[in-house]
């Protein structure tokens, strides 16, 4: 019974994952991805990893809401009224994706997988807690510090200007002559869509 449910959820996760790149609206893509994550979380709950499963569902529900906001901010195709197909190197990507899936699938099928399920009486959440705050505490703390660094990095990257000037001040090369334009190759125009903006100079 549980096995059948797990298999159904696996199929659903893969199908919703596929729908992410096939729907016409980015919001629908976001919710499709969220459904995929939720099915993986449900698989966790069914396969005796309730903490991981529930944490996945909570985290991904919030994360996909944030992603939805970004989708609205950067959306090309509001409401999915037009067909949306914004791809490049499409054939190469299909080949790479199929090869990756087939290669990993072949590895799974040719391996003799061990069978050693979690014993029924195991208190998995308590085990995880003791592991996190016991032998693996350093790893757990490292993840915490990494997340702190991420928060700082995200603020630094996305802030418009700091107290001491532009956020990207240190990342621009100095001018060749004092006060002159910065050295090196210039970013192409402000619009970002001018691909053939030629360099000046060399006259």
């Amino acid at each position: 019974m549980i096995d059948a449910l797990v298999i159904l959820l696996v199929l659903f996760a893969a199908w919703t994952g596929w729908r992410v790149f096939r729907v016409d609206s980015m919001i629908r893509a976001t919710f499709s991805l969220m459904l995929s994550f939720i099915s993986v979380g449900a698989i966790g709950v069914l396969l005796s990893a309730p903490y991981i499963g529930v944490a996945t569902v909570f985290m991904m529900a919030v994360e996909m809401m944030v992603m939805g906001i970004f989708m609205v901010m950067f959306m090309m195709n509001p409401a999915g009224l037009n067909p949306m197909m914004m791809v490049h190197q499409h054939k190469l990507s299909i080949v790479a994706g199929v090869l990756a899936a087939l290669g990993l699938g072949a590895a799974v099928l040719t391996t003799t997988l061990p069978t050693d399920p979690v014993p029924g009486e195991t208190d998995v959440v308590s085990d995880l807690g003791h592991e996190l705050l016991g032998p693996s505490m350093l790893i757990f703390e490292t993840a915490g510090v990494t997340l702190l660094a991420t928060m700082i990095g995200a603020v630094v990257l996305s802030s418009r200007r700091g107290r001491y000037g532009q956020a990207d001040e240190g990342s621009r090369p100095p001018g060749l002559d004092p006060g002159g334009p910065p050295a090196g190759r210039q970013p192409e125009g402000e619009g970002g869509h001018h691909h053939h903006h030629h360099h000046h100079g060399g006259h």
């Binding site: 696996v10 994952g17 299909i94 790479a96 990494t146 970013p187």
Partner: protein, 101 residues
């Protein structure tokens, strides 16, 4: 049997995610491909831990690390998208010529 199917599903998710990350032009959609690959990794970890490790708690720890990686990828990715958009008004990968090799 269940483990095989779970792992095959994880392989499919990773394949779809790789396709999306390579093919999508919009930065936000590209990140969804990355997320999908991490989703596949998470599925594989959950399945292997539950059905093949006999309840070793370290397996769950690995799943938590993957979730931390998801959070890092997501927030730094969106910060980069916002920074690039501020600087270049670009929301498509093609618009970033200066990173071209």
């Amino acid at each position: 049997m269940t483990l095989t199917i779970v792992l095959l599903g994880a392989a499919a998710l990773i394949g779809i995610g790789l396709y999306g990350a390579l093919s999508q032009q919009s930065f936000v959609m590209l990140m969804m491909g990355l997320e999908l690959m991490l989703n596949g990794a998470l599925l594989a970890i959950i399945g292997l831990w539950s059905l093949a490790l006999g309840g070793m708690p370290e397996g769950q720890l690995l799943a938590i690390i993957v979730m931390a990686v998801m959070a890092v990828e997501m927030s730094i990715g969106f910060a980069l998208i916002v920074a690039v958009y501020r600087k270049r008004q670009a929301d498509m990968t093609e618009a970033l010529g200066t990173l071209k090799g």
